[in-house]
């Protein structure tokens, strides 16, 4: 900590009132839209469409949540389960694939390793819209339309390049000597990876796994292109069709918004430190 003595005037003003005003503004900017939607999710129909606007719901009724969750037409319970399944499987599979690849790129010497790394970097820059038409015809040909597989496989296109890229960095930062003693003890490469490298890289692996989960949770375009049945929709796709299709029921929709936000918000809050360290490490490396 810096010493507090001898602050100049500018510092005192910046550290005091300006800091607090700034923080208040920042928090309000980030949270106000959430608060608005949260309030709306408790409002009754009459309150939602009242003129002049009613800001506070008269009671904290959970009717909108119950309705959204159990609705037969936009069953958020089903959407939630779909999202959870697709994101979890994507996360596990992505992590498995990426750990192997990241380890290989970090530890083995290949011809053209630099090029491979560049390819992983470049793949992250590919527009999702590029993949939609070809993937649609591909999944159609394979009979995978309206299946979880189509969504999970498609998600690899954006989760894997990033996680591999990040994991190479983590693995490289772990001293080789640690593993080499394990190798000498007769562990194979795989044993060394599992027993030595993974435990040390655990925070990094966790961060990238969460990244894979969160980005799959948010995915929209693949979900609306490769599925059309209500029971196959993810939360993102379900929310979108709730708007396009029927009367926009802002109460239920707001409940749906909160339902879709909650898991990632909780995950993020709990794992914030690791996540941020993990995600910024790559950028800091330059």
């Amino acid at each position: 900590m810096r010493s507090r003595g001898g602050l100049d005037t500018a510092e005192r003003v910046l550290g005091g009132p300006v800091l607090w005003a700034g923080l208040a503004a920042l928090t309000a900017f980030a949270l106000a839209p959430f608060v608005w939607v949260l309030l709306a999710s408790f409002k009754t129909r009459a309150e939602l469409y009242a003129t002049p606007l009613v800001w506070l719901p008269t009671s904290l009724s959970l009717a909108n949540y119950v309705e959204a969750w159990t609705s037969k037409l936009t069953p958020f319970s089903r959407f939630f389960a779909n999202s959870l399944w697709v994101s979890s499987v994507t996360m596990v599979a992505t992590t498995a694939i990426s750990v192997l690849a990241g380890y290989a790129l970090a530890r083995f010497r290949f011809a053209g390793r630099q090029t491979v790394m560049l390819v992983f970097l470049a793949t992250q820059m590919f527009p999702a819209v590029l993949l939609i038409a070809p993937l649609l015809s591909q999944w159609h040909a394979l009979g995978l339309i309206d299946t979880y597989q189509a969504l999970i496989y498609s998600n690899f296109s954006f989760t894997v390049p990033f996680t591999v890229w990040m994991l190479v960095g983590y693995f490289e930062s772990i001293p080789r000597e640690l593993e080499e003693s394990a190798l000498m003890d007769g562990c194979g490469r795989f044993g060394a990876l599992c027993r030595v490298v993974l435990p040390l890289a655990a925070p990094g692996v966790a961060a990238t796994a969460i990244f894979a989960f969160v980005s799959s949770w948010s995915e929209l375009l693949f979900a609306i292109t490769f599925t059309s049945q209500t029971e196959m929709r993810t939360l993102s796709a379900g929310l979108l069709f709730m708007v396009g299709q029927y009367e926009i029921q802002w109460g239920q929709l707001s409940a749906g918004v909160i339902i879709s936000t909650l898991p990632v918000a909780v995950l993020f809050t709990v794992l914030q430190r690791h996540l941020i360290r993990g995600l910024t490490a790559g950028a800091l490396k330059g």
Binding site: M1, G6, G15, L19, G22, L23, L26, F29, A30, L31, P33, W36, V37, A40, L53, A96, S98, L100, A101, Y103, A104, F108, R109, F110, A122, Q124, M125, P127, A128, V129, L130, L131, I132, A133, P134, L135, Q138, Y153, F156, S157, V160, P161, V164, E177, E180, V214, S218, L220, L221, S236, W250, L253, S260, A265, F268, I276, R277, T280, A283, L284
Partner: protein, 310 residues
């Protein structure tokens, strides 16, 4: 690199040399990633390039056929494409510059030590991690002319007499979607720059203070130069991401009204979903890809120059 020196010397000569085995294992480890990305990225991109050379409108199967660069020629003549390209730059520049400014201020604030810093940090970073559809819907609701919060607040504050339909007015729609994107992207810059700020050694500031440098001077001569590499990386990443990002506009306005928010990536979606013109959609996406690759090369050149600073 001196790692070879520490390797154990093999006792007996196995069937394959150690080196060969290593290489083989390495390729084996890469096999899953090759399959996964081969099937979901490489093959589709090759297919997209191939599709872009065909006339492939689903509703006109009898016209299907190879037309060489015909779709690209059509592109040059397509006013909406050029408009969408211009809109894309407007969208990217507006979003990224404001996100950067907001993120910088947020990072400076969050870098200070105060009570409850962890909580404030978590809360302010939330907009970044929630799904794009959710962001779009929240803001669509805020902008809703009759039941939205924004018009009500402005009217109560006496700043507005007639209700404004933010997303229906072609001159307001783009600023409105950019504002939404700024809300979403500020935390990204805040996180990145905060990490950068925390990596700057306190001693540097102390030394500058001893030399009598004021707040502004310290910011100008220490903070900014030290942050430069991360600023470059974060901005470039964000530019690419924003350029490709279609969800927000797709949900909020679908490129309307009157193409006022039509960016190249949403125009590609329109061609694919609405016109079912897969050939032309593929062409647009290949062009998007080329622009991005050009930008990436430029970025790699720039960052190479930055590295020594880090």
């Amino acid at each position: 690199m001196a790692r070879e020196a520490t390797l154990a010397r093999p006792l007996a000569r196995p069937l394959l040399t150690r080196r060969a085995r290593e290489v083989l294992t390495g390729y084996l480890y890469l096999l899953p990633v090759v399959i996964a990305l081969g099937a979901t990225v490489v093959v589709p991109i090759v297919r997209a390039i191939q599709m872009s050379l065909y006339r492939n409108v689903l509703i006109k199967p009898q016209e299907y056929g190879f037309i060489g660069l015909g779709n690209y020629a059509r592109l040059l003549d397509d006013d909406v494409f050029w408009l969408s390209l211009w809109n894309s730059f407007y969208w990217v520049f507006g979003s990224v510059s404001l996100q950067f400014l907001g993120g910088f201020v947020a990072a400076l604030l969050l870098h200070q030590s105060f009570q409850g810093r962890a909580a404030v940090r978590t809360l302010t970073l939330l907009p970044w991690i929630i799904p794009g559809v959710v962001v779009a819907l929240i803001w669509e609701y805020l902008y809703q002319p009759n039941y939205g919060a924004l018009n009500d607040l402005l009217a109560r504050a006496g700043l507005m007499t007639d209700k404004v339909a933010w997303l229906s007015n072609p001159s307001l729609a783009m600023p409105a979607v950019i504002a939404t994107n700024v809300w979403r992207g500020v935390p990204f810059f805040a996180i990145m720059l905060l990490a950068g700020l925390q990596a700057i050694a306190d001693e540097l500031y102390e030394a500058a203070r001893v030399d009598g440098a004021g707040v502004l001077e310290r910011f100008w001569h220490i903070t900014l130069p030290m942050l430069r590499p991360i600023i470059v990386v974060a901005t470039a990443t964000r530019i690419i991401w924003t350029f490709n990002y279609a969800d927000l506009i797709f949900v909020m306005t679908s490129g309307g009204p009157a193409n006022a928010t039509q960016i190249t990536s949403t125009y590609t979606l329109l061609q694919a979903y609405s016109n079912l013109d897969f050939g032309y959609a593929a062409t647009l996406s290949v062009v998007l890809l080329l622009i991005m690759l050009a930008f990436t090369l430029l970025y790699l050149r720039v960052t190479r120059g930055v590295e020594p600073v880090a």
